[in-house]
């Protein structure tokens, strides 16, 4: 159980009305890796991501996490099992201070206040936000809010961390700091799945990439191989033959 893949999706589909956002997707996430979930806009990345995070159930198919069937389980339950996520648009609790935000996450593992606060402080230290501990969530800059989201997720002590476009929209320096943090997190044994559509940011960071296109898996493999894949190039840049 502890050596197999941490996530396995079997024929996972999700429809929104007439739109098939995910069409019978088979894929898996290996334990301890950083997996990039990439693809052009509308490829179904966010849908698949939300299905694994438990934001909504799949229309059909099965999702396994850590050897157990988690299909259709609510997000709170998945968090307790060890799946944590961040949001594309940071969703901090704005009436709460930074440390209180992170403490909310820590309560899943540490029901008692003082232990939860200690955990939260340790995580803030880890992501480099401890000097902002008492600031209001609403006072943070956008990159700091991203860090807060990561801190909050880490406070739940996840086995799998789902990052939704955490590096998008950052300055190069901020993005580098973000990449460094993600590497550091992986070294502690946390498996990471990240959704990005900016290829040049993710490619040096990920061990493996899964490319989605029109709701299906288009390609999968090492980042260097994936970017040379003809289908992938066609999906991103358009098909030259058809365009002509």
């Amino acid at each position: 159980m502890s050596s197999g893949p941490i996530v396995v999706c079997e024929k996972v589909s999700r429809r929104f009305g007439g739109l098939v956002a995910n069409d019978s997707i088979d894929m898996m996430v290996r334990r301890g890796e950083i997996l990039g979930l990439i693809g052009p806009n509308g490829a179904g990345k966010s849908t698949l991501f939300n299905l694994i995070a438990g934001s909504f159930p799949p229309s059909s198919g099965k999702i396994m996490f850590d050897g157990r069937n988690i299909t259709g389980l609510p997000a709170a339950k998945l968090c307790a099992l060890g799946i944590a996520r961040t949001y594309q648009v940071p969703r901090s609790f704005d009436s709460m201070s930074v440390i209180e935000n992170v403490t909310v996450g820590a309560f899943v593992r540490y029901p008692r206040m003082l232990q939860a606060r200690e955990k939260a402080m340790a995580v803030l230290d880890y992501v480099g936000l401890s000097n902002k501990a008492d600031a209001a969530g609403s006072e943070l800059t956008p990159p700091q809010k991203r860090r807060l989201e990561v801190a909050r997720a880490l406070a739940t002590e996840p086995k799998l961390l789902l990052l939704d476009e955490v590096l998008t929209g950052l300055t190069p320096a901020e993005a580098r700091a973000g990449v460094e943090l993600i590497r550091k997190i992986r070294e502690t044994g946390v498996t990471i799945v990240m959704v990005e559509h900016v290829m040049e940011v993710v490619m040096p960071l990920v061990d493996r990439a899964v490319v989605l296109h029109l709701g299906k898996v288009l390609a999968e493999g090492a980042p260097t191989a994936v970017v040379r894949d003809e289908n992938v190039i066609a999906a991103y840049l358009g098909d030259r033959r058809r365009a002509a």
């Binding site: 704005d94 009436s95 709460m96």
Partner: protein, 338 residues
């Protein structure tokens, strides 16, 4: 090094919590001295109602302020408490203490039963549902023969006693009872707010989806807040019945009571420990004064003034009156640091 960094903020956290508690105990003790200085029955009556609504608004604040589920139907729980206490006393001879407790438990159960469908609604839709349900409750009681229907229930006159909670001549015991009730609701709020439940409620209020992703069972959190809030509201209703010795549907379940529970918290500061009390201290005496000086027909002038006050506060000071204190405390801190 890192251990120091971890321990230090907890130290200041624990110290500030302790300071809050000490201040509260001093405030309670100071309020307890008031009857030594005030002998006027009318003033005592206003003080009792102020403390009662401070306690009720404190209870409302648990669900409406911290958990962000704005109920405008708490008159239902107030009425359940008042009716349970009255019926158990008048028809079964059960003393008010037992009646209040029974009313509280019944009210909490009703809150859970109603929360089950209603907590699927969000924001204004939830608030509208609470208004409608409370109005349905009022209509049902109006037509409920066993509960006295529109005539209500008259308490028999008994000798003064803490046991039956009846005091015909001297109102001071009522004062101590509501002071106790206010202190209990304050202490319960104080204890829960800085615990897992309290943080979960605030997270649910700010962003339920993000809260859910961090392991917060949003639905259960709302249900818990509703049950606790309804329990204490009903105890307040039971006390009110004993205090006025006569209840009818309009006098305990009118929409006005729902407003009177929500408004002090909104005026004083939703989701703050002292907001409901500060709001009640302004609103309730004002309501009593306008009623006694501008005619007691219940024309609702007090409600007009509340409405104006709440509008002014929410436009200029959305965090309520307590927000002013919070901000000036923060400025003072910044000055000390600089």
């Amino acid at each position: 090094m890192s251990e120091i960094a971890v321990a230090a903020p907890n130290n200041s956290f624990v110290a500030s919590r302790r300071r809050q508690l000490v201040i509260a105990l001093i405030v309670f003790a100071a309020i307890a001295l008031i009857p030594r200085a005030v002998s006027d029955v009318y003033t005592m009556n206003v003080l009792i109602l102020t403390l009662l609504f401070a306690a009720l608004s404190q209870s409302w604040n648990i669900l409406g302020g911290y958990c962000g589920q704005v109920s405008l139907g708490h008159a239902l729980y107030f009425g359940i408490g008042a009716y349970a206490t009255s019926i158990l006393f008048v028809k079964f001879g059960i003393v008010a203490w037992g009646g209040m407790l029974a009313g509280g438990v019944l009210s909490a159960l009703v809150a859970l039963a109603l929360g089950y469908p209603c907590f699927r609604l969000k924001g204004h839709y939830f608030s509208i549902a609470t208004i409608v349900i409370a109005e349905i409750g009022l209509l049902l009681v109006h037509n409920w023969d066993y509960g006295g229907a529109a005539l209500g229930i008259q308490w028999p006159f008994n000798p003064d006693s803490w046991w039956t909670l009846q005091f015909a001549r001297d109102k001071v015991p009522y004062f101590y009872f509501v002071l106790g009730l206010f202190a209990v609701t304050w202490l319960v709020t104080y204890a829960i707010v800085e615990s897992r439940w309290g943080y979960w409620w605030r997270a649910v209020k700010d962003d339920p989806d993000a809260a859910e992703s961090l392991g917060v069972t949003v639905f259960n959190s709302k249900m818990g807040a509703a049950a606790i809030s309804a329990f204490f509201t009903a105890i307040g209703g039971g006390f009110y019945a004993a205090f006025v010795s006569y209840i009818d549907p309009e006098s305990v379940m009118h929409f006005r009571f729902s407003l009177l529970m929500a408004l002090p918290a909104v005026l004083g500061g939703v989701g703050s420990l002292w907001g409901p009390a500060v709001g009640a201290l302004i609103l309730i005496p004002m309501a009593e004064l306008t009623r006694s000086y501008l005619g007691g027909t219940g024309s609702g002038l007090d409600l007009v003034i509340y409405g104006l006050l709440v509008m002014v506060v929410s436009l200029t000071q959305p965090e309520g009156i307590m927000g002013i204190f919070k901000r000036s405390a923060k400025k003072a801190d910044a000055k000390v640091e600089a």
